[in-house]
Symmetry: C2
Subunit: 336 residues, 2 copies
Amino acid sequence: MLTERQKRILWAVIDDYIASAEPVGSRTVSKKKEVGVSAATIRNEMADLEEMGYLEQPYTSAGRIPSQKGYRFYVDHIVTPYFWQQGQSEELGLQDWGSLDSLEQIIRQTATLLSKQTNYMTITLGPTSFEERLRYLQVVPLSSRHAISIIITETGRVYQQQVEIPQHLTELQIQQIVQIVNERLQGQLLSPFLAQGVSQQLELGFDLDEWLTRLFHMENSEQVYTSGTTRILDQPEFQDINKMRALLDLLEETQTIMQLIQPTSDGIQVRIGKENVVASVSDCSIISASIMIHGEQVGTIGVLGPTRMNYRKVIGLIDYLSRDVSDKLHRWLRGL
Amino acid sequence: MLTERQKRILWAVIDDYIASAEPVGSRTVSKKKEVGVSAATIRNEMADLEEMGYLEQPYTSAGRIPSQKGYRFYVDHIVTPYFWQQGQSEELGLQDWGSLDSLEQIIRQTATLLSKQTNYMTITLGPTSFEERLRYLQVVPLSSRHAISIIITETGRVYQQQVEIPQHLTELQIQQIVQIVNERLQGQLLSPFLAQGVSQQLELGFDLDEWLTRLFHMENSEQVYTSGTTRILDQPEFQDINKMRALLDLLEETQTIMQLIQPTSDGIQVRIGKENVVASVSDCSIISASIMIHGEQVGTIGVLGPTRMNYRKVIGLIDYLSRDVSDKLHRWLRGL
DNA sequence: TGTTAGCACTCCCTGTATATGAGTGCTAAA
DNA sequence: TTTAGCACTCATATACAGGGAGTGCTAACA
């Protein structure tokens, strides 16, 4: 376990490194009044901290930089997230929600705000269709073999998809199916099992379950949206064109991105460096939180930046914004 | 006017510079057998070409690089675009269209192919809603004041938008409007004037024209899609992080992008360097062409790369692909 | 008159040597 | 246990020389 003084030194090193992006020397730390011992003492302590794995030295006789373990300790035991007051929305530049007209827009607006405030990259996941509830289904034939199926959910999102029409199915029968679905399944979760049983009720003589499942299974329903991509170029660690490139490549892989920012538990998730399994972000940190409505997760909002990230600010902001957005979405839904 | 020999020298310089990205010297040019004179002669000619503005010298005693005027002359009078045979689709790695299920996907697939083939960035514009024809309108109320309007076009695209419901309008009346629109306006162009006259037919006692116009005016209907963003990092001119950054920033400005690649005339458009008004692409070239169906423009496909671009290859490819895609879309629409 | 060989000159690039400075680890004294 | 002092390390900056690619000019040649 670390002594109180070691904690304070670790704290000072990390705070300084977050601000300067340069190795921190003993003299710099000794100048801060929270520590109050001489540079030589700090050198000894820093050597200990390095031995324990909380600090690293880029080369002999350079200052120290925090290791992944150091950041982890800092996040878990040292940092107190900045706390935003309820009334500070305007100060942050939050839009008047009245003018926004969909769940998606509200989430994106928040993402833009976040990236502007932090100068890191913001990633948001729109709602999964599985996590939403059916309001209205429509199937519009394009030809005798193809149709477009459209689903509107209770949150006002529209999913759309092209489907083939099974051989023996007439246009009239399709209308019947749509009618039955709209009458009986409204308000149900869009799970893969939603359509089970509808087929039998029609007594068509052939099985439609598989087709109906496809009607409701919207691919690409997970909308990944990123914002502030170029802002991250301000960070000195991304001056390296190859790192930059790896990151941009990553952005095109929707699946990976989703996996990266998806929180595995409630609350705020901080993943530091190699804790993110993907190699191209092994020196990045990702902080994310879920957006909840009625206890259900409707979206995720996350920030990606260098491990040398302003955790205090970002954790505080994400905490505040995720709750704020949940709140406002809730009110917006009731006001519809 | 340039002499035949000057043309050949300009040609050689540009071809070499396109391949090497480095200033081309007189010795290098004299080695090519198409020219066949000594280095000294070429030095004289190159000095003339520079005086006329076709070549530039980055610094005294360096080789020459083409100027914008040089590229323009090259494109207009020298280069013969590579001609792809009809049967070379497979060679290019063109997908079997059967598995693609929307106009959008077909265009995007082509964009990906283009950027893979050229190592430049590809930008496509999806169809404007104004240029499409109505197949089906639906309005789904979300509450007493809000609804979602959905338009499906003849090309199978779905546009969707949230609208407010005017005060005195009942749900029944909305259904009537939708019915009238679907009966009378099918196959019409989605122009802003589409809905004119519908209002009177209903004899509601108040004017709905403005609202109806909004129903059909889909914002963000111009889908901008980019592909191969990171590929452009292979080009030496984008090693500079600031240029890179300017380009990425540009990508987020949909309006500007549209303006940049929108062709002003039929056929293939080549815009070199400062001919693109936007500063961040003042050392890029953009080659674009429209995708036509039934004589109407349904999309645009363009390539953005350094002015030092392989014009021969790109012009040839865009020419081939834009016609090929138009063709295949046409067949695909008939087969629906 | 047009073409070419020869030559001095320019300017970039690279590698080497040197100086500077921030920071360390160790030792010994307080 | 803390601190001052000192020798040592290593990255970075600066200066400088040599090499090389390429030019412009001149004079000779066909």
